[in-house]
Every structure is written in structure tokens, then in C-alpha cells.
Amino acid sequence: MSTTAFTGAESVDGGGQAPVVPRSRGRYWRAVRSPRGAIGLALVAFVILVSVIGPFLLSYGPFEQGPNSLQQPGSDHLMGTDEVGRDLLARVLAGTRVDLIITLVAVPVAAVIGTLLGLVAVVSRVADAVVQRMFDVLIGVPAVILGIGVAIAIAPGMESVMIAIALVTMPIFGRQARGALLGQLSLDYVAAAEVLGYPRRRIMMRHILPNIVDVIFVRFAVEMAHAIMIEGGLSVVGLGIQSPQPSLGSMIKDGSSYLFETPLYALAPIFVVLLLVVGYFMVSDALNQAVLRT
């Protein structure tokens, strides 16, 4: 829309304010093409690509122990070795893969379940109240405590971290979806659908849901970054991914003991976390710009 500068000043004769943002099929494409979106996406894609392709180019696996512990970077081990002589580069790449898998499973699951629970708001008042109080509890408990609970209930490991991440992010999606939903309900196109006699489920799924997915997508990118940080937090208290399986969080924790001997042990995974978090935030920001504001 080219006349956005006008709409504020001339809203009455211009046909009323239009909080409904122009939406075209190309809106995600526009986000990707913006500098911020392109850089963010490139960062994330770079990390994924390197962690997937990297192992094929390395001569050591992440679990292979060598004779030299805490070796400095050299031609043999590009980033050196850890305290039991495993190749650090191989372990960083393996840890990155673990983090990516965890977040790519947990966050989408949380997004779908959270959104659906948020939509319960229109189905019944009682169900809405129950869901919202449940969200209150989940939001009220700190992520690490929640993770401890899950780890105690089932053995700590990939599953417990995934469940913890899902439990932490689900209410966030739920709240976001519910808020967006209630905002849409007051718009006339919903009333129009009702007056035309469309069934409720159709109005919900065909009319309202497509209008709130944008909000969920923006939130999704933010929560991906959030999930990486939750994994780190759980690893620091020892309830994350268990040894010998590496993860970014557990490597940061283990490596911090050798910060002066082999600084790359901790710094390399920190750098990967940084790339991912910054990348995800840039993507969400670009999406937010292109999709929600325009």
C-alpha cells in the first residue's frame, strides 16, 4: 500500500482507519528479502548446514577418544581436544545438531498445542478459564525448576529437555493466540460470516485462524531462540543432555572449567548459541516488520 503516510491523517474520508493490514501472498518473501531477514536466515541456515555437512569432512567422531587430552588447536584437531581427548570441533557440531533437533521438535509441538489451547477461549468460558489458569501456573514456574521436575519424573535426557522446552513455550503461544483471536472476534468480517450462517467451526478454522498465523510465526522464531537458551540453562544445572552425548549447553558448562587451558572448549559453543539466537531474533524481527506492520 503506497499511501500509508496518508491514512493516519485522512482516515475519515479515506475510508476509516484500517487496522487490518494489507496481506499478500508475498509477505513472507518480503520478510526474507529485507536485509535483517536475509542476514538472520543466513545465520541460521549457516549453522544448520555446517552442523550437518561438517561431520563428513572430519576424521574424528564426537565420541572417539584420543591419547591427548586438552590439546591446543592444531593441524590434527582443528579446535583441540577436550579433557578425555575427544575432538572439540566434532563435539561442537554434534552438540549443535542435538540442540537443533530438540528445538525443532519441541517448539513446533508447543506452537500447535499452545495455539489450539488458546483457541479454546471461544469454545467455552469454563474451558477457557481452566486453560488460562494452567498457563498461569506454567508461566509462573521458572524454566529451570520446571526442567528439574520433568527430569526427576522421567530420566534426564533428550526427552526431558524437549518436554521442558515444550512446557515453557506452550503457554506463551497459547496466550499469543488467544489475544490475537479475541482481537479478530470484534472485527466485522467475523460478524459477517456469522450473519451469512457459516458454521462456527468453519469461521474459526477458515476465517480467523488464517488471520492469526502471522502472529504465531513471529512468536515461533522468538521461541526458537528462547528454547536454545532453555537447553543451556538445564545443562548448567546438570539436568540437560547427559554425557557422553554433547549439547551446546553441556559443552559450555564442561568447557568453562578449562577456560584458560583451552578457551575454545567453551567459547565455540557459546559462539554457535550466539549465531542461532541472533539469527532467530533477526528473522522474527523481519517477519514482524513485513507481516504485522507493513
Binding site: 503506497s2 503516510a5 485522512e10 475510508g15 476509516g16 499478500s24 468480517y189 459477517a192 451469512l196
Partner: protein, 623 residues
């Protein structure tokens, strides 16, 4: 002329920077305002009138810049002035009033504080400012100012807020007041009060006033001179008397003709201007009005006419190749315009509303008693096929609530609504479906009433699918029929709503309502969100559809003049009750209720004397 010129704008050009580069939005605007005079700037959306006004106070949005011309305010060059000096001028010698006062008043400060702030910032001692704030509230007609000064903006009504904003704007006795659509968001009777206030302040404080509006009748009422803008250009400029009596530009004339007015015959077909105002990015070559102009000549398509003085004794400029001679008198009314022939027919009753009450309920909370706010109190109405019933009232009178109750979005707390013999309250599933197909709603805001994620085709197909109204093969031809029925080309079917203009969207909304072949259409302010030149098109479309399809209408409006052109009967609603109800001609010729009279008096072109005397005779508040 010897009066002191307060504002002098010469050859102003503004540019808007878009993704695609700089686009000129306003060019060659020249005008001056002498002290104590009111200049009206008239235009539709995209005409550049608001940007022109904002540029005077150097308050353009970041995307817009002044690229040429000069602005002199009290002899000083505004464009060369340092920012700090401009800031010192604003609120002191230069006052501004905007359309939406709530957005410009700070919700966390009392109105008294906000008035004092502007006084103190411009150098008045605090104790004096305190007294002056009360005086100002009194001046703008806020009752009981001593007490109200400690209230927050949200406790004031729309009209009162606008008065507060005017009080802030005139606090420091400005030499010039810029008012951008100061009354567009207000009810007619409130608008009347604000206009009178502005005119009074002009004469009392001797300030100059620039009034920006889309409404020609406001200009007629209080302005001394007028400047008509179209697509970034001034098309006509002169004294109000000259321009109104003898418009030299076809746009001005058509705009005046297509505005519904009280001094025209009822049910007359409105002469509509075809098309819509152009976008900033796609303005036509030559004269910018030529695609919509009835007088277009070859020359208009290629050469842009200059603004030339055509006045006989006073200056009267117009930018039109055809304006060398006075325009031919209004074309005779189009044939088929007299629909009076069928006003005699009664039509079959389709809607029967009996003694309906609707109220909003608030549930009991911890410290709150449950309460009920009645909105509609005992309304009875009837509507007939092939006839239109107008429901008129000001905001908050319950007319929209009643509309939503009729179409089944809300349920009445008591009373009976029967549509074609069926009632929402005791309807079986099947009957509800039939009801849904019998009555449809057309919404006020075409921007909100279409799903932004559906194409026009999807919007129009869906009702057919849900109600099983056309077989798969026949659906597309039916959709084609619907869209051409409302006067839109089939090529628009694959557009999204945001790719349409306001008028086109409203047509799609009407087509969607027609898809289920209803017998009754409830139209809630169907034209109030549209550009003036487009309103007449929609009113005519609704009238045509009624006659063609024998539809019954309930048309809700805040504006009597709109209803007059469309409706056979009018009901006037106030505070949830119907205060007067009768045939349109009777309501307009012999109103019985004082409220109807005051609505009539506040409408443009009203032959009715205002209940209160002339503008300058100061009303109750100054005593």
C-alpha cells in the same frame, strides 16, 4: 486589500518518499489567509489537504518533505526557521486542532493540567495559568469548568474533548488556528456546536482559521474563502460566495451536486461522480480529474490546466480548460430518476419488530454488583419488501445494537422480532438457516468487514457453498452475476480486499449479502466511511437493487440527508427509543419531535431555522 495577512503560502510542493522513490503529492499550492478570516480547504482522500496543513506547522510525517515554494507565517519564513523557534510558535501563535481529540490528549493528565501546561510553557506564571485555564474551558463551552478542569479526558464526550482541544489550541491567543477535520468524528448536532464555537472564537479573538474538511457544506456554513483540492492540485479557489454560487471547476460542481442535501427532492437519484479519487502513485496525465469529468476534451488528457483567475469582480481561480465560460447549468436529472411512481405500493411486510428491549449485561465480580445497561428500550418497527426504512440517530442511541439484534447477532432481552414469520428466539436449526438467508447485514466499514485473507472470488463463493445454493459448475457463473450486479468488473474477482478502494469494497460487501438471495437487508451506516464522491454511487446502487430485487431495507444512518434519498419511511431514534416515525416526506416537511427538528436544523442545506439564533449571538456559556 489592507487586512494583515497572517499566513502566506506560495507555490508549495510536497513529495512523499516511497519504496519506489519520491512521488510528488502536492504541487503548486498558493494561498493566503488574512487575520479574522476563515479559509476552507476541501478535498477527498489523497487530495493532499492534510499534508498541506501539516507542512504549515512543519509537522509533516517523516516520509514527506517540502520540495518547493515558501510558507510565510506573520511575515516570517517558516521553512528557514530553526526547529526551536518553530516549536515555540506552535501552541502560541499557531494553534492546531485535529480530528481525533482522544489521540491528542494525554490520558494521564487532567484537562486542566494540559491547558496549564501549554500556557506555562509559553511563559505564563503558574498561578495566572490556573485562572486562565478555567476561563478557557468556560470560553469553549465546558459547563462547570471549575470542577471539570480536574477530570481526565476519558470522562468527556467526543464533542467536549474536541472543545478541550480547541481550548488548548487557542490558549495563547494564536494568530492562526489550523483545524484538520475537527468535526468529522462527531454527531451532527455536536458538529454544529463546534463550528459555531470556532466561528465565535474567530470573531472574539480575531484569529485566522484554516479549516480542512471533506465536507463542502461546512465550508458553505462558516468559511469566507475556499480552496478545493484534487489529487494534490488546487482545482478551484475563491470566495465561498463565488465558488458555491458559480463553481468554475467541474469537480467542485459535481462534488456539490453529489452530496446528499436536505434541500433536494426526496428519493431523487443522486448525480454521482463516476470512478474514485486516484492514488498518489497513479495520478493521470493532463488534468487529474479528466477520467471522471463529464466535460473532458482532448486537451484535458494531455495538458495540465493552470490555475487561472476567472472572477468577474473578485478573484476566483479555477484550473480547467473548460472553465473559460461559466459551466453549463447542472445537467437535467437522468431519466428514470423519478421513482416516486411506486411509493404508493405498500409491499409485503417482511420484518416486524415489536416492543424490543436489548441490554448489555455485566456479570457480578468480586466487588461489583451485576448490572444491566439498557441500550434499546421498547422499539417497534415494520419493514416491507421493496421499501426502505431509515433509522436515524446519533452515536450511542442504540441504532447499531438494534441492527445487530435484527440480524440475530445479539438477542433481545424481551420483545419479538419476526422476519418473514420466523423468530430467532424459537428457531429450529433449519429455521435459523432460513433466517440467515432471509436477512443480511451490510457493514459500515468495508475495511473491516471483508476477510483480508480471501480473494473477492472466495468471499462470494463461500456463501454459495455453505448454503448449497449453486452446483459446482454453476457457482462461477453465479459469482460473475453477483459482481456485475453491484457494478464491478469481473477482473476484480481475484483481488484481495486491500487491493480495492473503499467504494469497491463496499460493493463487494453488498454482493456478498446478495449471494444468499435475502429479502431484507440491514445496512448499518453503509456510506459513512466512504469518500464523498463515492457515497452517491453506493446510495444509488442500493436504490437500484431495491427496485430490481424487491428488497426490503433497514438503513441506519446518523445523517438525515442520506436517508432522505433512499428511504420511504424514517424512524428517529434517541436514547434507545423511537421518538418519531413516519413517511420520509412528512418527517422532513413537518417534524413533530423537537429532537428531529434539531437533527434537521444541523444538517447541511437545511431549510429549518436553528433552534438557537445566529452564530455570533454567543450562547449560554460566556456568561
Amino acid at each position: 486589500m489592507t487586512e494583515q495577512v497572517v499566513l502566506d503560502v506560495r507555490n508549495l510542493g510536497l513529495e512523499l518518499s516511497l519504496e519506489s522513490g519520491g512521488v510528488p503529492v502536492v504541487s503548486g499550492v498558493t494561498f493566503s489567509v488574512p487575520a479574522g478570516q476563515i479559509l476552507g480547504v476541501v478535498g477527498e482522500s489523497g487530495s493532499g489537504k492534510s499534508l498541506t496543513a501539516l507542512s504549515i506547522g512543519r509537522m509533516l510525517p517523516r516520509a514527506a518533505t517540502v520540495v518547493s515554494g515558501s510558507i510565510h507565517f506573520q511575515g516570517r519564513d517558516m521553512l528557514e526557521m530553526p526547529d526551536a523557534e518553530v516549536a515555540a510558535l506552535r501552541g502560541a501563535e499557531l494553534g492546531m486542532v485535529f480530528q481525533d481529540p482522544l489521540a491528542f490528549l494525554n490520558p494521564l493528565m487532567t484537562v486542566g493540567q494540559q491547558i496549564r501546561e501549554v500556557l506555562v510553557l509559553h511563559g505564563m506564571p503558574k498561578d495566572k495559568a490556573e485562572v486562565r485555564a478555567v476561563e478557557l474551558l468556560e470560553l469553549v463551552g465546558v459547563r462547570d469548568p471549575e470542577k471539570r478542569k480536574d477530570d481526565y479526558p476519558h470522562t468527556f464526550s467526543g464533542g467536549m474533548r474536541q472543545r478541550v482541544m480547541i481550548a488548548i489550541a487557542v490558549a495563547n491567543n494564536p494568530a492562526l488556528l489550523l483545524a484538520d477535520e475537527p468535526t468529522s468524528a462527531l454527531d451532527v448536532t455536536v458538529q454544529e456546536g463546534i463550528l459555531r464555537l470556532l466561528a465565535r472564537l474567530r470573531s472574539e479573538l480575531g484569529m485566522a482559521l484554516v479549516l480542512i474538511t471533506h465536507d463542502m457544506s461546512l465550508v458553505e456554513e462558516i468559511c469566507d474563502s475556499v480552496m478545493v483540492m484534487y489529487a494534490g492540485r488546487v482545482v478551484e479557489q475563491g470566495s465561498v460566495r463565488d465558488v458555491i454560487r458559480e463553481p468554475r471547476h467541474p469537480y467542485t460542481r459535481e462534488l456539490m451536486r453529489s452530496t446528499p442535501r436536505l434541500d433536494r427532492p426526496t428519493r431523487e437519484r443522486l448525480p454521482a461522480i463516476a470512478g474514485k479519487p486516484p492514488d498518489v502513485t497513479s495520478r493521470p496525465d493532463g488534468c487529474r480529474f479528466h477520467p471522471r469529468c463529464p466535460l473532458t476534451m482532448d486537451r484535458c488528457r494531455t495538458d495540465e490546466p493552470a490555475l487561472v483567475d476567472r472572477g468577474t469582480d473578485t478573484p476566483h481561480h479555477a484550473a480547467c480548460w473548460a472553465a473559460a465560460e461559466p459551466l453549463p447549468a447542472s445537467t437535467p436529472p437522468t431519466p428514470g430518476s423519478s421513482r416516486t411512481s411506486q411509493t404508493g405500493s405498500e409491499g409485503t411486510p417482511i420484518l416486524d419488530v415489536q416492543d424490543v428491549y436489548v441490554s448489555y449485561q455485566r456479570k457480578a465480580r468480586l466487588w461489583r454488583q451485576p448490572d444491566e445497561r439498557p441500550v434499546v428500550e421498547g422499539v417497534s418497527l415494520r419493514a416491507h419488501s421493496g421499501r426502505a426504512l431509515g433509522l436515524v440517530g446519533e452515536s450511542g442511541c442504540g441504532k447499531s445494537t438494534l441492527a445487530r439484534t435484527i440480524v440475530g447477532l445479539l438477542s433481545p432481552s424481551s420483545g419479538r422480532i419476526s422476519i418473514d414469520g420466523l423468530q430467532w428466539t424459537h428457531a429450529s436449526r433449519e429455521e435459523r438457516n432460513r433466517l440467515r438467508r432471509t436477512v443480511q447485514l451490510v457493514f459500515q466499514d468495508p475495511y473491516l468487514s471483508l476477510n483480508p485473507r480471501q480473494t473477492v472470488r472466495q468471499i462470494l463463493t463461500e456463501p454459495l457453498v455453505v448454503h448449497g445454493l449453486a452446483s459446482r459448475e454453476r457457482r462461477q457463473s453465479r459469482v460473475g452475476d453477483l459482481i456485475s450486479h453491484v457494478g464491478l468488473p469481473v477482473s476484480l474477482l481475484d483481488r484481495y480486499p486491500y487491493q480495492l478502494s473503499g467504494g469497491q469494497r463496499q460493493r463487494v460487501g453488498i454482493a456478498r449479502a446478495l449471494a444468499v438471495e435475502p429479502q431484507l437487508i440491514v445496512a448499518d451506516e453503509p456510506v459513512s466511511a466512504l469518500d464523498v464522491s463515492v457515497q452517491a454511487q453506493i446510495i444509488n446502487l442500493l436504490a437500484d437493487l431495491r427496485d430490481e430485487l424487491d428488497l426490503g431495507y433497514v438503513v441506519i444512518a446518523h445523517d438525515l440527508s442520506v436517508v432522505r434519498h433512499l428511504c420511504d419511511e424514517v424512524a428517529v431514534m434517541r436514547a434507545g427509543k423511537i421518538v418519531e416515525h413516519g413517511p420520509t416526506s412528512e418527517i422532513f416537511s413537518a417534524p413533530q419531535h423537537p429532537y428531529t427538528l434539531s437533527l434537521l436544523a444541523a444538517s447541511p442545506g437545511s431549510p429549518w431555522a436553528r433552534p438557537e439564533p445566529a452564530i455570533d449571538a454567543v450562547d449560554e456559556v460566556t456568561e
